[in-house]
């Protein structure tokens, strides 16, 4: 391909150098997402390091988790 990719700038460094350990796959993230989101809504301080690391490094999974939070929190209790 002859067209160059977008130039790498300092803005991309955080994403390129993000520490995504401990490793969690997208499938594992999906399996746990419903449980994780319910816990986060019940307790915003809830810690789940593998899930939080994965969501920081995977925009698609993070978007899905955000939508699930919005959906659940918009439902009257």
């Amino acid at each position: 391909m002859t067209r160059p990719h977008s130039p790498i700038t300092d803005n991309y460094l955080a994403g390129l150098l993000l520490d995504t350990s401990p490793y969690l796959s997208c499938d594992e993230c999906f399996e746990n997402m419903d449980i994780y989101v319910e816990k986060i809504i019940a307790d915003p301080e809830h810690q789940d390091v593998p899930m939080q690391v994965h969501l920081a490094g995977c925009p698609a999974c993070a978007e899905e988790a955000d939508t699930l939070v919005e959906l659940l929190t918009s439902e009257p209790a």
Partner: protein, 216 residues
């Protein structure tokens, strides 16, 4: 029907046990449960399509509703095929919603990239830093070290995937489809690439080793 901004409403829902029992019923109660399930999935799909609508600037409300309906149909099949994996560790409705959201997100991203070229680069392109002293000064030492590590320490596959996902912002499921692989496999490639870059930058003194993360 046109897609309006989703408004969720509380409706009387069966217990989690009743959901699973009704959905596996071959009779009329099974069909009724499937219709209710589809309504739940459509609610989730509409919300996700609505949130991502900026990715489809030419799409009207009918187009968006069609996407949501199709995603809900696909999600219904997925839920029914995985019903025996529901463990009751969350509410059934929460478990169901994530399928609607997943399928809607994939549908929007694929639609947005349907006619777009997916850039894949095996070599790094950087503007000539020596063209002007100002341009060179603006290119940080860390940035140049990262570019060198991308070129010398990543495999060809890792380089192509990392540049596509992180620099050209190709959605991971779109890239997976174009490369005939899975989102899982691409995320693992990206994880390994990031690890290699970090190791290289730590070895060259540009990065401090990360402290070990403890997990409960």
């Amino acid at each position: 029907m046109t897609l309006m901004q989703p408004v969720t409403s509380a409706t009387e829902q069966p217990s989690d046990e009743s959901w699973v029992a009704d959905l596996t019923d071959p009779g009329p109660s099974g069909l009724a449960a499937q219709r209710t399930l589809h309504d739940l999935l459509l609610r989730a799909a509409r919300l996700q399509v609505w949130r991502l609508r900026h990715q489809l600037p030419g799409a009207g409300s009918v187009d968006l509703e069609d996407l949501a309906q199709q995603a809900a149909d696909d999600a219904l099949m997925a839920v029914l095929s995985k019903l025996d994996t529901f463990e009751g560790r969350s509410r059934f409705t929460t478990w169901v919603y994530k399928f609607g959201i997943l399928h809607a997100g994939v549908a929007v991203r694929r639609q947005a990239w349907r006619h777009r070229e997916v850039p894949l680069f095996d070599s790094i392109h950087s503007p000539d830093p020596g063209s002007t002293p100002e341009a060179y000064a603006e290119s940080s030492d860390l940035l140049r070290a990262v570019e060198a590590a991308i070129t010398h320490d990543l495999t060809s596959h890792q380089r192509r995937v990392a540049l596509a996902l992180l620099v050209d912002h190709v959605p991971i499921d779109v890239l997976a489809e174009r490369l005939s692989t899975s989102r899982n496999a691409l995320y693992k490639t990206l994880h390994d690439a990031r690890q290699r870059l970090r190791e290289s930058l730590c070895a060259s003194g540009h990065l401090d080793p990360a402290p070990h993360r403890s997990t409960p």
